[in-house]
């Protein structure tokens, strides 16, 4: 399968990329690693007339200790997130989850920013950064703004990004000392999760987010609320789907997903509490 024809332009910086996307209108798309966009284009589910290649904007590939949080450049590849010693120390849940995206070949090309901007509820990193209470920095023609992960995902493959805005940085709070767990249930190692759970606990606080349990990644606030007021893990896990709206597909019915989410949330909380 070959994508439909498009014009290709290359940006050398974030500012140039935003200017190019502005010139070419809403039919233009950013191309980073291409591992979400190109499959859609091959299937004609996306047919942009222009691709603005940002894959060579090297100064957006970094992982930095920024005091109370870790700052990750949007063009940092999954493989570099997975192997980061800074993240291993301060936010190991994110490094671990990045190691579960696709397979090594995909992780050599795919980027954390691309995955988040694509806003696929079945992807690992949108839900994981949501659980971690991340903030996304986006740049547009009028400057930069910050969007909380909890405000970012507005619908299926739909985010709060304006068409002329580009995600430039992901800020993840430091989680030193937190227990954590990433549960991914699938049939083949490289596949998307049928259901996934990213969770952390520290003192009375916790964050739990669900993969592939609705139109967007889902923050399971009811679970955290119950834990905060002293509920047992088993009781809290029963609330796993309070915020979710799963749908059925080839892999799972709604009932199956609902059951799986409760089981995986329980397992995640047990592991995060151990």
């Amino acid at each position: 399968m070959i994508p439909a024809a498009f014009d290709y332009v290359r940006a050398g910086s974030a500012a140039e990329a935003i200017s190019l996307i502005g010139q070419h209108g809403s039919d233009a798309k950013f191309l980073a690693g291409g591992h979400s966009l190109l499959p859609l284009m091959k299937l004609r589910l996306a047919q942009p007339s222009v691709l603005v290649d940002i894959g060579r904007v090297k100064d957006l590939s970094y992982i930095k200790d920024a005091g109370d949080h870790i700052a990750i450049g949007a063009l940092t590849r999954h493989m570099d997130v997975e192997k980061s010693s800074v993240l291993a120390q301060h936010a190991p849940l994110l490094a671990h989850a990045a190691g579960h995206v696709g397979d090594p070949q995909v992780r050599h090309r795919g980027t954390i920013g691309g995955s988040i901007a694509h806003a696929d509820p079945a992807s690992d990193l949108p839900a994981t950064t949501l659980a971690l209470g991340a903030t996304y920095v986006v740049q547009g023609p009028k400057g930069t703004r910050e969007i909380k992960a909890s405000d970012f995902y507005v619908g299926f493959l739909e985010s709060a990004l304006a068409p002329d805005e580009m995600l430039t940085e992901i800020r993840v709070p430091k989680m030193n000392g937190a227990g954590w767990s990433f549960q991914k249930f699938n049939r083949r190692a490289q596949d998307w999760a049928i259901v996934g759970v990213a969770a952390w606990r520290r003192n009375g606080d916790s964050g739990v987010a669900l993969v592939n349990m609705g139109q967007t990644p889902v923050l399971a606030s009811s679970v955290s609320g119950a834990l905060k007021s002293g509920a047992s893990i088993a009781d809290a896990a029963e609330l796993a789907v309070a915020e979710a709206s799963p749908s059925a597909d080839n892999n799972a019915s709604v009932e199956y997903r609902t059951h799986l989410a409760k089981v995986l949330v329980r397992r995640a909380l047990e592991q995060a509490s151990a």
């Binding site: 498009f6 397979d103 090309r109 083949r188």
Partner: protein, 152 residues
């Protein structure tokens, strides 16, 4: 658009349509048909080759994205005198293939894996090859071959 790509040590300057996939470029423009197209949806790994030393799925990469890069395909692994790469030898000696369709991709993924983990456990190899499917279900001997190549 004009691209300049070094493939198996030879520099090529080519005019390509932006929508040309890297696998299409190496197979059709350069005639290097050792890289196979299997699923064409970045699942099976048959199209794996190296870009700047790392395995990627060339059905999900545009040729223009590889502009300026060093690409190695299965044809580039063997010595100039035709002597097999140690990984190719290990696949042969351990019966790491049946029909052979997944083999070029397996070998390219495996050589990339050993660069990252030179001394892998069996589990490292199985996880490291998660992006490559074998319909003959020959995984057992493939894993044996990779471990043999790593000196185990």
């Amino acid at each position: 658009m004009q691209i300049r790509v070094t493939v198996n040590g030879v520099e090529h300057v080519s005019d390509v349509e932006p929508r040309t996939l890297l696998v299409q470029y190496v197979r059709e423009a350069l005639g290097l048909t050792g890289t196979n197209v299997g699923c064409d949806t970045s699942s099976c790994g048959a199209c794996s080759l190296h870009v700047d030393g790392e395995a990627v799925k060339s059905c999900t990469l545009l040729a223009v994205q590889a502009d300026g890069a060093k690409v190695t395909t299965i044809e580039g692994l063997a010595g100039k005198d035709g002597s097999l790469h140690p990984m190719q030898k290990a696949f042969m000696e351990n019966h790491g293939l049946q029909c052979g369709y997944c083999t070029p991709g397996m070998v390219m993924a495996a050589t990339s894996l050993l660069k990252e983990i030179p001394n892998p456990t069996e589990e490292d190899v199985r996880i490291g090859l998660e992006g490559n499917l074998c319909r003959c279900t020959g995984y057992h001997n493939i894993v044996k071959a990779v471990l043999a190549c790593a000196g185990k």
